[in-house]
Amino acid sequence: MEPESNGEKMLVENANARSQSPWIQGYSPRTLWRSVFREDRLFLVLSVFIGVFAGLAVVCFRFAIDWARLYLLGTGVALTPARMLLAPALAGLLIAVLVIHFFPAARGSGVNQTKAALYIFNGNIPFKTAVGKFITSALAIGSGHSLGPEDPSLQIGACIASALGREMRLERDRMRLIAPVGAAAGLAAAFNAPISAVLFVIEEVIGRWTAGILGSVVLSAVSSVVVMRWFLGSESLFRIPAVELKRPAELMAYATLGVIGGLASVAFASGIAWLRPICKALPRWTQYLQPAIAGLLIGVIGMLGAPQVMGAGYEYIDQAMHGQFTWEFLAILAGLKILATMLSFVSGTPGGMFAPTLFVGAMLGAAVGGAQHALLPHLTGSAGTYALVGMGVLFAGFLRAPMTSVFMVLEVSGNYSIIVPVIVANTFAYVISRALQPTPIFDLLTQQDGLQLPSMEEQREENILRVEDAMQPVEGPVLDAEKTLEDAVKMLDHSEIEQLLVRLSPVGWGSVSKQQLLTMASQGNGATTLGALLPIAPVPYLHPDHPLETALRHVDRWPLVPVVNRADFRKLEGVVTQRDVLERYREFGEG
């Protein structure tokens, strides 16, 4: 933090002078100050503030959505046709104006924007984006657009965090990481699931587990959930049915759900991938109409008998979980929700994909469970269990967050007996989705927007080169430090090797050249041991499982680096040289 004006400089100098007076040296207020407000400690404290503010913002966001729904769609469950058609269409028109003229960064779900803040903008997100996201998303979801509040909450949280970070003038590294901290807080409050939020942010936004960020992410997520529960209660977004796995054979049914869910995820993602560029390529004036047309079409779907697809739809997830729809209708609802969400999303209406994904998953799960129950009533359990698993399936297949998908179902259901069906179904969905749609939806959207953000899936599955990949067998003799110089020279008689490794006693490795040995022998030191004779500087050693980049730190300084066994450091597994390492990287780069 550099002082900016003369006045500030003067104050800093005065403070420095005071701190240098001998009687308070070491205990000066400045030292104490700096110690208390150290950057890492401050970051943790700030995480709690981020959580509190994000929690408050998400509570207000929920109220705003609720009020928008009340005033735009009415208070009852049976919506009038006029409201069904006009509310999303007119709201779409207003949203388009707001997004185009005032809040262009509010477009989209919010996940990629948060990633962009982390990787491109050094953690900076204008606060205006949060305001825009808040207003436009509340209008969109409240008026019946098929979008959810979670991703916008994530972005609002990230915006708040970024603003607080700027205010605190955090260092650049900390500033970069502040957006994910806020994102976790926003998502946790929106979804009332702190563990899933933390996992999602680690899995999809940050992409790696680091101790430095984990504590902050957890703190912010927990504090935001506490705030949210203070105001909205701790009840889940839907009533969780009794979870049951009737018998192991039922896992076949869950595998079937995984396959169907995987295919549905591919259809969902492919639809967006195909339709979004088309909509974006249309003339600019059409962008004013696209959200309105999408809203109108969603209203038509509602009028045709499926008003359940309008809005986030948590109440209908609840009903599906409690067997209140026939399996045929559930399947239709899943299809229509995919269509409605595609329309809303590709039109550029701000809003999230989480809730629609959960909706589609729950409907699909309950439909598959219902159909299987009709065919094999003694084999399958309740539709509610299938709906729960179905939510995880779509999360794994469509959002491609496999770990979050498992923990989300566990956290929401609060029942660990569901873990096996969830893992089975999610694995099938994930594998099918990966095979048929190689690029995950978030990466696809990033590419369509012309950004190059790191793919978390690629990062997770990146092949790491290890030392064993470049390691070569030991050529020539390995000398022991206890040997005399005379013996060592005898061993070298028939060897062409220029550089030799010396096994030190009791542990450790050294290196010596053939020329050095011969020189010392010519000076008449033949009877002396190598250990006593050689000014051998210990050579660092590696293990075969070390990442190859570790070898890079040593090979430019040491011509020959030993690779030793982890159980016995004196046992040589091989050696690496700079040439070997570079050669391996070259081969890897060529594929």
């Binding site: 004006s5 006045g7 500030e8 503030f49 408050l56 009840e235 609840d318 067997g323 209140q324």
Partner: protein
Amino acid sequence: MASDIIARWRFYLRQRPVVLAALTVLAIVFFLAVTGLSQVHQAQRRAIGDRWFNRGIADLNAKRFEAAVKDFRAALLYSPDDYSYQLNLAEALIGEGQRGQALAYLINLWEREPENGIVNLELARSAANQGQTDDAIRYYHNAVYAVWPPDQDTMRRDARLELIELLLRIGAKQQAQGELIALAERVGPDPAQQERVGELFLRAGDYEHALAAFSTVLKSDRHNAAALAGAGYAAFELGRYPEGQRYLQAAIEAKPDDTASQARLKTTQLVLQMDPFQRQIPIAERDRIVVQAFQTAGERLRSCKLPAGISSAGSAPLSLGDEWEGLKPQITQLRLRRDPDLVETGMDLVFRIERATSVACGSPTGADLALLLISNMHEGS
């Protein structure tokens, strides 16, 4: 100078502790603001929910179930965990015929309050409708011993009555009798309830308790036709024919079109007329009855072709027909007067014929039925 002061303030305001303190104050202010907002929001939701709920209750009372379902669903949007909203929605769904959906709500309610009487009763009804009798009995038992509001204690009795009905429907008469005895102790002297209990006792085959229940009714209303008929029926089944005759005659007087009582009275009168073992009956009359009963049994034997295997008791090779033919010359008023043991022999054959033919050819009517009932009455005596 002014710029220095501003710079000094800016410097202090940008110090991290100051920013943190400002954030704390800001957080408190926002917290209070959101608390106010939350109260407004909750009050509004509660009001809307109550409005829909009241509308639903009105529709439910008017048996407009479809509208009631929509109303309660709307109410639940604003208060998803409200117990009475869910319970009324379940009732409306049952009324609408959507028992599956109602069951989902009821199970959810039951998980929250397993001791709730209404929920258990509704679950029992639902299970009974689906033929899940074990579950139904369990839920009915829960309902009987559940917590009921003071003004709904009659529901406990209704739950037990429904349980008894179910038990009788599935033929579990022993269990039904046990429940009925418990019920009878709790219904008090209310004639209508006692009458219902008496009828259930009759259906459960516990005629003694049935007669007691109907007698209780008749103490307060001597001319209650249903109670008289029930008491007559119970006395008839207990073999108390004179008592039964009295009740049945009174029942027919009170309700002349009671054909069941008329038929039962006719049989009762026949029993009383055709029983030769009644006390204080003149010898001549007794002998006449025996001769008549013997003729009746013979005609029954002739009209009912007994399977070849059916013969007289013991190892005697003679068939009942042969026996009857063999005894026929002896069953005259003159011979009976001379040999009183023939009364026993003749009536024994009559009883055996009536029992055998009732097994082979179905339940008899008229005089044959009377003879069968007399045989049952004297069996083992």
